[in-house]
């Protein structure tokens, strides 16, 4: 019989696509992560909360192998990235999408070239590239910006292009680094709606770093209605069971569970944080 209950409320029968085991990382004398352990399962979206400087963005870079941990193990799609040489990591990273905090679009390339970057590198046929780029840009409702340069776009549009670039080759995992950071509330809602759409339409596993509680809770309490073409409140229990939360404090995981577990948590720091 499959196991059904876990520490974070997600069935362990589901395969873990990303796993951190006792990961530690420091810069100089300052220890940023102190024995961080958690699992991200296939189809799960994990919202990572934490105050500024708690190591959220660093954690994403570790998952991508952009940084190496001082101790511990990181397993991504069955491969241990913590000890993998850079040349092998390039192959693995093609299965992972990443949306950077400030979008990190290539400013000398057009929107089309930015989104197509990965496909061009993989020498995909030109017509296939065009088709997939248009599809990805249509997903973020920016198919009219193909020939524009990032500098000609607003902050929200740049973020949407970054999402299109991350999803263009249908990755198995997507990492979002503060996708709504620095945006106005209306644009933030548009971005969150896109993330919900991505989660519900493609069922991609995702790890989303944010310090905006409302974004995390919207993700957990809403789902995407494909017929209406917009996000709607989740029926039934009111929370999306595929969306879980993880809270970091001083480099340690202090909470890993569902929205309901979080709402019921009595820890003083967590109560204060989510209030």
């Amino acid at each position: 019989m499959p196991e059904i209950a876990t520490s974070n409320g997600f069935p362990t029968a589901a395969e873990a696509v990303l796993e951190f085991k006792e990961v530690e990382l420091g810069f100089g004398q300052h220890l940023v992560l102190r024995g961080v352990s958690f699992r991200l399962h296939r189809g799960e979206t994990k919202i990572l909360f934490g105050v500024a400087g708690s190591g959220k963005s660093v954690l994403l870079k570790l998952a991508l192998g952009l940084l190496k941990p001082d101790a511990g193990t990181i397993i991504v799609l069955g491969k241990e990235v913590s000890s993998m040489p850079e040349q092998e990591l390039f192959e693995l990273r093609r299965k992972i999408g990443m949306v950077f905090q400030e979008s990190a679009l290539f400013d000398s390339l057009t929107v089309e070239e930015n989104v197509a970057f990965r496909l061009i590198e993989e020498h995909a046929p030109a017509n296939e590239i065009r088709e997939r780029v248009t599809e990805a840009l249509r997903f973020v409702e920016l198919e009219h910006t193909l020939q524009k340069f990032p500098s000609e776009l607003s902050g929200g549009m740049r973020r949407r292009v970054a999402i299109a670039r991350a999803i263009v080759n249908k990755p198995e995992i997507i990492l979002y680094d503060s996708p709504t950071g620095g945006l106005d509330p209306i644009t933030s809602t548009t971005i969150v709606e896109l993330l919900i759409k991505q989660r519900d339409v493609y069922q991609t596993s995702a790890l989303m770093v944010t310090h905006r509680l409302q974004d995390g809770f919207t993700m957990a309490t809403h789902c995407y209605d494909q017929q209406k073409g917009q996000m709607v409140p989740t029926k039934g229990s009111g929370t999306n069971t595929n969306t879980t939360f993880l809270i970091l404090r001083d480099g340690r995981v202090i909470f890993d569970g569902t929205g309901q577990d979080l709402a019921a948590n009595t820890d003083e720091y967590i109560r204060e944080y989510i209030s």
Partner: protein, 259 residues
């Protein structure tokens, strides 16, 4: 401003040398690995080579003319004014042509590379490239190294020719030499060793310009101020390295060829 301990400074310098060596080694190793970014290489060749043509040609012409002018008074004392062409050709082809062209290119290309890659680094574009599964050294450094080495070779030849031409204008118009007299003396004494010496230097200098420029770009920290700092450091470091390496190559080749 905090005071850094001397051992920390030494550690930083050793680390910088180690990182530079690794980057340079990787850039060379990538010559034998796929994919090869031919279009990036051509784009860089256009920027480095074609874009530098006016400044390199002007520098060559000016230095050749000045060389002829400056040496004429000394040569006149010994009644050897007819050797002006020989002196200009020896100086330009063996030393001044490649070194000066490299220094001009260091000012234009190494700084350009440091600022471009530095801006990419501080805006996380380099990380984004790695995240997209592309090796930034292969995509950004190796094409720049190949283009700089090849283009500097041809730019040095052009600079030499312009230098000879500058010397020719001065020799004919101001020193009263005939065209035949000047050009005969420029190539008469020139030997394979002299030309070889002048033509092999650009390969080393081109490699230094590209790798130093890219290294400072990749190691940029601290926003726009950091980009400015990296640009200046790239210019200074590549110029100093060119001058140091020039001495050792010259000594080595004199030892090999005996002139």
């Amino acid at each position: 401003m905090p005071i850094t301990a001397p051992d920390e400074i030494i550690k930083d310098k050793v680390l910088a040398i180690q990182e530079y060596s690794l980057l340079a080694g990787e850039a060379i190793a990538n010559l034998f690995r796929r994919p090869r970014y031919v279009s990036d290489m051509l784009m860089q060749a256009d920027f480095i080579g074609v874009g530098s043509l006016p400044i390199v040609m002007l520098t060559g012409l000016s230095i050749g003319a000045v060389l002829a002018l400056q040496t004429s008074s000394t040569l006149q004392q010994f009644g050897s004014i007819s050797l002006t062409g020989q002196l200009v050709s020896f100086s330009m082809i063996k030393e001044i042509g490649p070194v000066l062209t490299s220094l001009m290119l260091a000012g234009r290309a190494a700084t350009g590379m440091a600022s471009e890659l530095g801006s990419m680094k501080v805006t996380e574009q380099i990380d984004a490239m790695r995240a997209l599964g592309t090796d930034p050294v292969k995509k950004l450094v190796t094409p720049r190294v190949i283009s700089t080495v090849i283009m500097l070779f041809f730019l040095s030849i052009l600079s030499d020719l312009m230098g000879l031409f500058g010397g020719f204008i001065v020799a004919v118009t101001l020193l009263g030499l005939s065209t035949r007299q000047y050009w005969t003396s420029t190539y008469q004494q020139l030997q394979f060793a002299d030309v070889f010496q002048g033509l092999c230097k650009p390969f080393f200098f081109g490699f230094i310009i590209a790798t130093v420029g890219c290294y400072y770009g990749f190691s940029t920290k601290g926003g726009t101020q950091g980009v400015g700092r990296a640009t200046t450091q790239a210019m200074v470091a590549s110029s100093v390295l060119i001058l140091i390496v020039d001495f050792f190559i010259t000594r080595l080749l004199i030892g090999v060829f005996g002139r």
